[in-house]
Amino acid sequence: MSAVPIWRRYARLFGFDVRSDVDDELQFHLESRVDELVAQGWREHDARAEARRQFGNLHDVQRKGQLLLMEMERTRQRSDYWDTIGQDIRYALRTLRKDRVFTLVTVAILGLGIAANTAVFSVVNTVLFRPLPFPDSQQLTWLTSARDSSARNPGVGGLSLVTYRVDVFEEYQRRNQSFQDVTAYNPFFGNSEYTISGRLEPQAVAGVMVAENFFPVLGVKPLLGRLFTPEECKKGGRPALLLSHAYWRQQFGSDLSIIGQSVTLGKQQVTVVGVLPDTFDFGSVFAPGQKFDLFVPLVMDEVRNWGNTLAIVGRLKPGVSVVQAQSEADVLFPQIKEVLTQKWGDYSTTITGLKEFVSGKLRRALLVLWGAVGLIMLIVCVNLSNLLLARSAARSKEFAMRTALGAGRGRLFRQMLTESLVLSCAGALLGLVLAYGLTRYIAHQGSIALPLLSSIRVDSDALLWTALITVSAAVLFGLAPGVKASSANVQETLKESGHGLSAGKNHHRLRGVLVISEVALACVLLVGAGLLMRSFLKVLDVDLGFKPSRAAVIKVDYDGADVEDGSRRGAALQEILRKVGELPGVEAAGVTDMLPLGRNRSWGIRAKDREYQKGEFLASIVRIVTPGYLGAMGILIREGRDFNWLDSSKSERVVIINETAAKKFWQGANPVGRLALVNGRDARVIGMIADVRDQNVEASAGPEMYLPMTQAGPEGGELVVRSALPPESLGPAVLKTLKSLNPAQPAAEFRPLQHIVDRAVSPRRFFVLLVAAFAALGLILASLGIYGVISYSVVQQTKDIGVKMALGASAPQVQLGVIGEAMRLTLIGIGVGALGAVVAAELIASLLFGTAPRDPATFTIIAVLLLAVALLAGYLPARRASRIDPIIALRST
């Protein structure tokens, strides 16, 4: 065989050509046969025919050949492809192993960036994107009554104003055509706080009253036992309860035999009929940050006359949209109002998807968080791009050599991309480990009032997202060095002396741009974080109207809690407060049925002697308290007096209102001493207190009234104790006192009042913490970037600096030059970043509290911070530059 002709080498230049390959091969065969026949004495023409005849079906063979060769070619290309990739990866691993510090730093930076992204994506995905953990959850909707008419009475009235009366619910359930079914629960969780005993030490449990069809509508099936039967949901039916999975596991040790047994709930014997699955977490969907232990039937006839008690959840019929249901509701509720001759105002209702209700409010905050980690990832990419560029400069000889030896530019480019891909995959592995830990940690922060928190985890979506950012990051930060490596000038680089000054300058400019963008990105991030942080500080600084420090709360059980006549209750409470007050260290004590920043309800109130505009909303939040409660909470009495024990069930009915209520119902006149109508009955206003942030730390107070426990029916009880002693040391004594007075007193926790405030601000704290952590990460990365670029340029300019020093430049002059460079880049970066920050600040304006989006203080502080960091990052290389020995620098090339 002879050598391959030169043209054959290019046969594949235009892609492989199977047809002509097969034809050529068979043609050769035929020609050879013809030659042979001719040699045997055949005539050329006949020989040709004979050869064809001997061959048989030429076409058939040709077709077979094309198919076979095509298949072979495909296999070959595939294996070629994998071969090169394998080579590239092996090469990348080898070079990265040689450069261990570089690799470690890069992987660590990538790991942090990817961890932040994966973790935040998991949160965003769980809260915003993933459907709620119920079958066909897109059919589930939430009904909000719009009586609140937030525009007119922002934040006024609380839960009572967005909930429904039983008859309204039943009427709607009967009339609507849009829903498969609507169901309800009682969101006034205080109605179902019990002391459980019997099998256990008495302890407080939180329950929820749910309608008979609540679980069927949600699609929740019991893990054990069964759901409620219709009989159990009727007045006088057999008392039954369902346990939450967590409570069943913690308190009953997952005892299977619990079904059918009875426990004592309050004073009632109640049968445990079932255990709910662990996938069902009522709190995480309907009441973020709260834990619920059991569920009891909501007996409609019992709560029929309690007023607005129901929160309504519906399951739409398949194919019916929220909009259709809404337009039906717009017609139905006015009709219902007429039928029931409601004097409670109309129940015009807004229907939203349940998912929207659960997480809608968090959308912006989460998107901001997502944006923040996106910025982090960009900074990471810029940073790595920088590092790789510096490295590729150091490796320019290697690339030039490989080019000279025949490596194509495409191949070198691919090689660089493979290296960045290998790096980012390693980073992704580290990032996933970190993200897994972080999400686990977040998921177990039960005290953060964020919905769906407990189901946050790194799921398959998050893995996909991680893969996506891993690859895009690799491309992003591998691109510049890849282009650089593949476009190197071979001759210049290989020549020992050819230092390629012009190329170096280009290189330097590119790195300068990278530093500027890095500083700019960090600036945006830091300003955003700074604004949010300032908002958070402002929130913490809000005058709550009560003093959470040095006070603690315990749930208290007392005699006569549920009787109409308040005198028995009064006696019990007076005794409790007297005994607790005698404990050493106790300064003040009082009981309320509902604490601020928690659950609430509202009752009607108006001044007896005033006329109001038609349609004005005449109700306010009501709290039923004992004498001493205001003092224990640190609430200021502006006018009049606190309750005392002489305000009994037999004496004149009295009420204390807050300033906002006075403004609203008495138009600012001093209300003390005047008569009010509370739920239609006369009550004398005996005091006016300073406003308390009763529902939300960040919103000013709505009207509030306080009624004495002797004259109105409380819902549960919270004993507030003010003391200089830490709650841990005072707690046991308080609990012992309570137990001695009432053996049924549950073993409840004595928790600092501050915890209640903490929980109320926990979502903001959560966001601020994360954003601040990301901003800090961004700052560190940016400073690393500045440091890297400046110290690299010092190394590159060693010779120049040497010359300058030999010509008489002093060390400070050299230092100034180097630091000046760092400062110049940083200043440009800050300028660009500030512009970006102004835009970003507008986007997060709705998340700010008491802070202007262009808050000059924040912008200034961040600019100074960045400059300081740049100064430090520039100083280290500058000091090194000033210590260059001109002689050594000039001698070495």
């Binding site: 065989m1 054959r8 068979l26 050769f28 061959f55 048989g56 063979v61 077979k64 076979l68 298949e71």
Partner: protein, 118 residues
């Protein structure tokens, strides 16, 4: 033996091709000639079966091909054994010899085998 052309048993052709390539690369035409001559012209491999067999062997990685120039300066596709092909040839040869020996023993037998009692 009469100069009849023997029909090739299924699968035999592959071994023959591999064997033909043992002494060096050949093009398809040379392979038919070699087999024809080496078997004293008793085996004639048809082109219609040879080429598909060659391509299949190449697909299995037992032979590899390269374009070259034939003795008469025509471009031709040359096939050569891969190490894998060489290994396969050794195995097949062993199997074939054993098979042929066994068949030969029986067909050339002159008397029935001894019974076990003896």
């Amino acid at each position: 033996m009469e100069k009849t052309q023997l029909d090739l048993l299924r699968g035999t052709l592959d071994v023959l091709i591999l064997k033909a390539l043992v002494w060096g690369p050949l093009h398809g035409y040379a392979i038919t000639n070699l087999i024809h001559r080496q078997t004293d012209e008793s085996l004639l491999v048809e082109e219609g079966t040879l080429y598909p067999a060659l391509w299949r062997l190449e697909g299995k990685g037992l032979v590899e091909s390269e374009w070259g120039l034939s003795d008469n300066k025509r471009k031709a596709k040359f096939y050569r054994l891969t190490p894998e092909g060489r290994r396969r040839l050794r195995e097949e040869t062993k199997v074939w010899s054993a098979y042929a020996e066994a068949v030969g023993k029986l067909l050339n037998a002159t008397r029935p085998p001894l019974t076990e009692e003896e």
